[in-house]
Symmetry: C2
Subunit: 289 residues, 2 copies
């Protein structure tokens, strides 16, 4: 089965479990809304690519890990779009969850998706209890405090920001979770896979900065120019457009160099290159005023 | 060690883990603020009481379960106090988290506490992997969708409310988690313990209705009269004060009758009676205008 089909099936199965019995109908609908359409599913794709590169010894565990990671990512988008954070009306080309439903339902959707992510991994313990618990520990570390995406978002409420901790937690954390969870689901050690995830995360951050600075809202499918509006650090502001593109390519070369020795090493390098092509803004981009 | 000391130590250890390294300082501070002062810690007290009644075979697992349950309860209070829900300025006699910090930090505090709860249980897997996973599954079922406290809160966004599903999820869920997690942490089956949790939850709901209707905000330590303001169902409105007190006592008698056979059966019955005394508003209460 192609990766995207595995990911969609795993996410759909998790959401279906959360809608069984007689749940409150609007919240049940909002859960479904928050995870579709899928978009690139870039984090679970990386996760499954690493699992495959390591032999994909327990596909059911890898699928659960992919679904759990994507549920956390979707939860973070729903919460980040709320008026108290980015106040984004649009996400993936359609109204954000709080615009389509309500702020209370958006908050509960995020909370429910977080819980569901850990439940999906706990269910997968039937395949390998110790591995499932390690997957839960990795996902928790990269989601909550002190070093996960919650911590990353928390840095935005500080007067003095530790920029390296900020970027590592805000954008890097779920990419590190992706590479480490893929390895663990396939029976490998997590630790050697941290650097690849961290470097993909850095590349993603620079690419996101480029898109935020260069694209309009219609192309992005979400509000553009948010970094300038919220006075957030941005690689384009620091390095210029060409400098940021050079930086992106340097990081991706480092990412490829960091891939641990494994049967699917060449395939993973190709995946990183493909991700790079997808991430790098192609000319001509329209500069906003 | 007395139960309250076990609970405080377990909660404090979890929060300390979430503040290690270099987390964003204000969010780290908000986590601590959200879980103190402890108040009655009624859910983890029930959990540990059940574990003790069942022999408390793995105290470290029971302590982890108690901490995880209390972290979820505190997360729900922080999110429920937000302006989009109860808009509560005061909680446990001090400013609510969003008043003391900010709305973004309150949302992130709740998210971080949810993640931390599952991480605490995953850490405890070193004592018994299968039991830790079952604890995670129970806590997830009683926290998220379709039947946990998120679902309970979700019912408040519905035009037509399934009242029984609403109360079971909104108030009952974490009491069922308390009795079932206590039993599982001590190596017993979860299922026979559902009814005791459900009945304590019902009793708590009626007691909460009585307090909300009869007490002023100063006595409650949080805004009073919220059910009338938000047009939520309330046992006092339906049965009158004396009727609601009779109903509370009937439910507690049923709770005691439902206690499964175990070494600490008599101790548990005494715990339920003591909970009843603590819950039942004592005369004279001051009726609000």
């Amino acid at each position: 089965m192609p990766l995207h089909a595995r990911i969609e099936a795993a996410v759909a199965a998790a959401i279906a479990d959360g809608q069984s019995g007689s749940p409150p109908p609007r919240l049940a609908s909002a859960l479904q809304y928050a995870v579709t359409p899928g978009g690139a599913r870039i984090r679970p794709t990386i996760l499954l690519s690493v699992a495959l590169a390591c032999g994909d010894r327990r596909p059911a565990l890898a699928d659960a890990a992919a679904a759990a990671l994507e549920l956390i990512h979707c939860a973070s988008l729903v919460h980040d779009d709320l008026p108290m954070f980015d106040d984004a009306d649009v996400r993936r080309g359609k109204p954000s969850v709080h615009r389509a439903y309500s702020e209370p339902l958006a908050l509960l959707t995020g909370d429910s998706l977080i819980v569901m992510a850990f439940d999906v991994l706990a269910r997968a313990a039937v395949h390998d209890c110790a591995a499932a618990v390690e997957l839960i520990r990795i996902l928790a570390a990269r989601t909550g405090m002190p070093g996960g995406i919650c911590a990353g978002q928390g840095w935005e409420s500080e007067a003095a920001v530790d920029l390296s901790a900020y970027h590592r937690a805000k954008t890097g954390a779920l990419f590190i979770a992706a590479t480490q969870m893929g390895a663990v689901a396939a029976g490998q050690e997590a630790e050697p896979w941290e650097e690849l995830g961290a470097r993909i995360g850095e590349a993603f951050q620079v690419a996101d900065d480029l898109r935020d600075a260069l694209y309009d809202s219609e192309t992005l499918g979400k509000p553009a120019g948010q970094d300038a509006i919220h006075a957030r650090p941005n690689a384009v502001a620091a390095l210029g457009v060409q400098g940021a593109i050079r930086r992106l390519n340097d990081i991706l070369a480092g990412a490829i160099a960091s891939i641990p020795s494994c049967p699917g090493e060449a395939m993973l390098a190709a995946m990183v290159r493909k991700t790079a092509e997808r991430l790098t803004p192609v000319a001509p981009v329209r500069a906003r005023a």
